[in-house]
């Protein structure tokens, strides 16, 4: 599989504090890559560096390179709105806008210039189908998204991200606040999605990583300790620290 995202010697500081240390990591296209590691090790930070959401944090400093489709996301020629359109993100807490379901999905396309009602209708249906939510909400598209259940809201957020036709989907603990049923549905969905999209997930749930990811990267204290096919990481990790973590000895 060709690499779509690649970190090269990536360092990141929040003010004085270094949160990422010389990260080198390749993420292949159309696969699910899981980032695991104990709390505070820098998983979210890495994820948010890919689509430059860290720009919002005052005092962030980045060195090294983060390549998307071969181009450094921090190069001046890259427009962040374009970047973020190509790289969708789903957050830990479902965060639908306080608008109707329809408007939530149409938000992105509208921003990017799609105005025609018929086109929008089509995108909304397609995205909701893509997020396996269409059947549940097709009768109440004009109702507020806040009325959905937690799991539905999270799938809505996935649909919203799909509506702008990204290449990559970043998901930061996107199922950790959900009940097992909803989690299962979203995991199924991810498996479905990887046919068309590159998916990067952060999870604290070792079983989840083992269940659905193709490759797993283990982070510790800002360093990327080990990366490899998920089977291998979980069965025969090379690094002692990875083994300790996976077997539950710390974290």
């Amino acid at each position: 599989m060709p690499t779509i995202i690649e970190a090269k010697n990536l360092d990141l500081w929040y003010g004085q504090k270094q949160a990422l240390k010389k990260i080198n990591l390749e993420i292949p296209e159309r696969q699910i890559t899981a980032l695991i590691g104990p709390s505070g090790c820098g998983k979210s930070t890495f994820l948010r560096t890919i689509d430059r959401m860290n720009d919002l944090v005052p005092g962030v400093r980045v060195e090294g390179q983060m390549l998307y489709a071969g181009e450094d996301v921090y190069s001046p020629s890259v427009d962040v709105t374009w970047l973020r359109r190509k790289i969708g993100m789903v957050f830990q807490k479902a965060n639908p806008f306080p608008m109707s379901i329809y408007d939530n999905i149409a938000y992105g396309p509208r921003i990017h210039g799609t105005r025609k009602k018929s086109e929008l209708d089509e995108i909304v249906e397609k995205s909701l189908r893509g997020a396996a939510l269409w059947d549940e909400v097709k009768d109440r598209l004009k109702k507020s998204a806040m009325g959905l259940s937690g799991g539905q809201q999270q799938r809505l957020c996935i649909a919203r991200a799909l509506a702008v036709q990204p290449d990559v989907l970043l998901m930061d603990e996107s199922t950790s606040a959900l009940d097992p049923g909803s989690t299962m549905r979203i995991e199924e969905l991810m498996r479905e999605l990887k046919k068309d999209y590159t998916v990067v997930i952060v999870t604290h749930n070792m079983q989840q990583a083992a269940r659905i990811s193709d490759r797993t990267a283990f982070f510790l204290l800002g360093e990327m300790v080990e990366v490899g096919p998920t089977d291998k990481i979980f069965s025969t990790p090379e690094d002692k620290r990875t083994e300790d973590y996976i077997s539950g000895r710390f974290g």
Partner: protein, 294 residues
């Protein structure tokens, strides 16, 4: 996904860029207008007022024979208004807040009282002035006097005291109440020894805000407290205390600016009022910050 399409749609479309630029421009423009206004109002008052604040102005009464102006009586009148108003409004307001948070059982009554306080907050000063003049000056026979002014201001300030006290009473942990009651304390003893001391910050904030309101009030005072400019000896006799009339600083500003065309004096008073406001705001935010820490 097609790579060429990436290249084409990479930069912001021109309509998006225009939207961005125009709104951003408007934002900065409006913020600049506000800032300029701030600078102008504050600067203008200080530039025109500060040079005329002299010791003589602050320490004398006006004299027609000598043709001099002093605002000492107005300062003293303002202090009278603040002190007398607070002495009455504070127990009432704190009492009402205590009732609302500690005693009231009837939800409807609580809602009614809260609605009433909010309503009082919204009533314009001129209506307070009208009702105050009728009720206190005329019906109670207080004449246009500082006492009538203070009583009117009690109605004006009571919602502030109630609200801030109530807010801080609500932050007193329930566990303090349980602890005190479990030791066999009566309710009033508990309120006095534990609840009120823990919410002293809110009460102080309320006082500061009330002082701000009193110092800035004019419409409600014009018709209830009169415009006397001479020094009153409040403590000379009960009569003096009850029925001296007099202008507060704000009313004096109005009189000097409107009726006497003494603009320098008016601006000097304006600058003094501005400094007072600054001090009051500062004090309120300091106490407020302390409140947050708890």
């Amino acid at each position: 996904m097609d790579h060429n399409e990436h290249k084409e749609t990479r930069a912001l479309s021109s309509s998006r860029r225009a939207y961005d630029l125009i709104l951003r421009g408007l934002l900065y423009f409006c913020a600049a207008v506000t800032c300029l206004l701030l600078v102008f109002v504050i600067g203008y008052i200080f530039v025109r007022g500060l040079p005329h604040i002299t010791w003589e102005l602050l320490s004398t009464s006006p004299s027609y024979i000598k043709d001099t102006i002093g605002i000492l009586p107005n300062i003293v009148n303002t202090v009278y208004l603040v002190v007398v108003t607070l002495i009455i409004t504070l127990p009432l307001g704190v009492g009402a807040a205590v009732y609302l948070t500690e005693y009231a059982q009837n939800k409807k009554l609580v809602a009614a009282i809260e609605f009433a306080t909010e309503t009082l907050t919204g009533i314009p000063s001129i209506i307070f002035g009208l009702v105050g003049m009728l009720f206190f000056c005329q019906l109670l026979g207080l004449q246009a006097s500082l006492l009538a002014g203070s009583l009117t201001l009690v109605i004006v300030t009571i919602p502030t005291i109630i609200r801030t006290t109530q807010e801080s009473l609500k932050t007193v942990p329930q566990s303090y109440r349980e602890a005190a009651l479990a030791l066999g304390s009566g309710k009033w003893y508990m309120i006095r020894t534990v609840i009120l001391p823990s919410s002293i910050d809110g009460i102080v904030t309320g006082c500061i805000l009330a002082i701000g309101r009193i110092v800035g009030e004019s419409a409600a005072l014009l018709f209830t407290a009169g415009m006397g400019m001479s020094m009153n000896n409040f403590f000379g006799s009960v009569d003096n205390f009850v029925h001296s009339s007099g202008a507060s600083l704000t009313v004096a500003l109005y009189v000097y600016a409107r009726e006497r065309a003494e603009f320098d004096v008016a601006f000097a008073i304006a600058a003094i009022l501005m400094i007072l406001t600054l001090v009051i705001n500062l004090a309120a935010s300091l106490v407020g910050r302390k409140l947050k820490k708890h």
